[in-house]
Symmetry: C2
Subunit: 206 residues, 2 copies
């Protein structure tokens, strides 16, 4: 399983289940997330296995917190996972499946509307990731050479999110252009040229 190892990774410093959940919301939602109802039992199981230990923190102010930290065995297991080569899981994109079957609607306007809504949702998410990128590396990657080893790796992971999301937005644009062309097959010359111009515009955005 992977969630176990992700929890081990998140526990570089001692933290509670609640803390870890907040950690997900910030800079890593594009590659993993989990609900508290999954995190709490998982932490308990990891403690039973000896990879974590916990203590109840005295509630100086606020409710009590159960704070976990890695054991030596826990750290060893994390390192084992990190050196086991890239774990390629199965991908599931329900919205691509929808598009794949959308000819059943027999209505290119419906397909177009679908892609427009998808584009706007993807761009929303992209904006969040660009902000995370900015927070780490500064404008134009100004701070890039001064990052700690930890932040450097986080930066690389965030870049994957940015590139991945941007490629999907670009894909929406390409698909919308194809759809337009198909809807007006006898438009004036230069459909290909228009596509070319758009490509160049997309590239400048790099």
């Amino acid at each position: 399983m992977s969630l176990d190892h992700i929890l081990l990774g998140m526990l570089a410093a001692p933290a509670s289940g609640y803390d870890i959940k907040r950690g997900f919301s910030e800079g890593s939602r594009h590659f993993w997330s989990a609900e508290l109802s999954q995190i709490y039992p998982a932490l308990k199981k990891l403690e039973e296995r000896g990879w974590l230990e916990s203590r109840l923190e005295p509630p100086a102010r606020g409710p009590r917190r159960r704070v976990y930290h890695r054991t030596t065995e826990g750290r060893t297991e994390l390192l084992r996972w990190l050196t086991a080569g890239p774990q390629m899981g199965t991908q599931r994109f329900a919205y691509v499946a929808q598009l794949f079957f959308m000819h059943e609607l027999d209505d290119l306007e419906a397909t177009s509307d679908f892609m427009l809504e998808l584009r706007s949702r993807l761009e929303e998410f992209l904006a969040l990731l660009r902000q995370a990128e900015l927070d780490i590396a500064g404008p134009d990657g100004a701070r890039l050479d001064d990052l700690s080893g930890e932040d450097f790796h986080v930066y690389l992971a965030v870049r994957m999110g940015v590139r991945s999301l941007r490629s999907r937005v670009d894909w929406c644009d390409e698909a919308l252009a194809h759809i337009e062309r198909r809807r007006r097959p006898h438009a004036v010359a230069g459909g290909a040229q228009a596509q070319d111009r758009q490509d160049r515009k997309e590239r400048r955005r790099g």
Copy 2:
């Protein structure tokens, strides 16, 4: 759930569970897949719900096959799903999580090796998808304007796979460049220029 709807979509023509599984292996592995052990019970459940019906085909030659076809209600449900707006599921990329935590190894060569292996696996997959794209639209999209409505939508879905995979390969290259730069921080001038050259190369490949 989505598998239900994907099965409904796959059953544009009557097919057995085995047929559907083969359908997954071909042109849609980049956005969904399922095992036979998941497909058979799901089909049975869909029949109980009245969205499918099945008959046992007389085994003229070969073993017996249970062939499913959509009912009217099944088709209605499929259309409902297709018009319900893009379904944005949670993404899980275990290998990005690995990178995210990889500073724990404190060894940039390990990170570099990791990215190299990842790159080669991604490129392998990309080659399969490019082939699928070629099979549908021909070289340089020559057949693009002659596609049926069905093939057109399939083409759009395949393009998502191609773009998505290519953006991940590009990300690997970018990350490897960053890693190299970090490992030899006092190399001769022009690190940024080298990155520029690479950007232009990547763009040409479009």
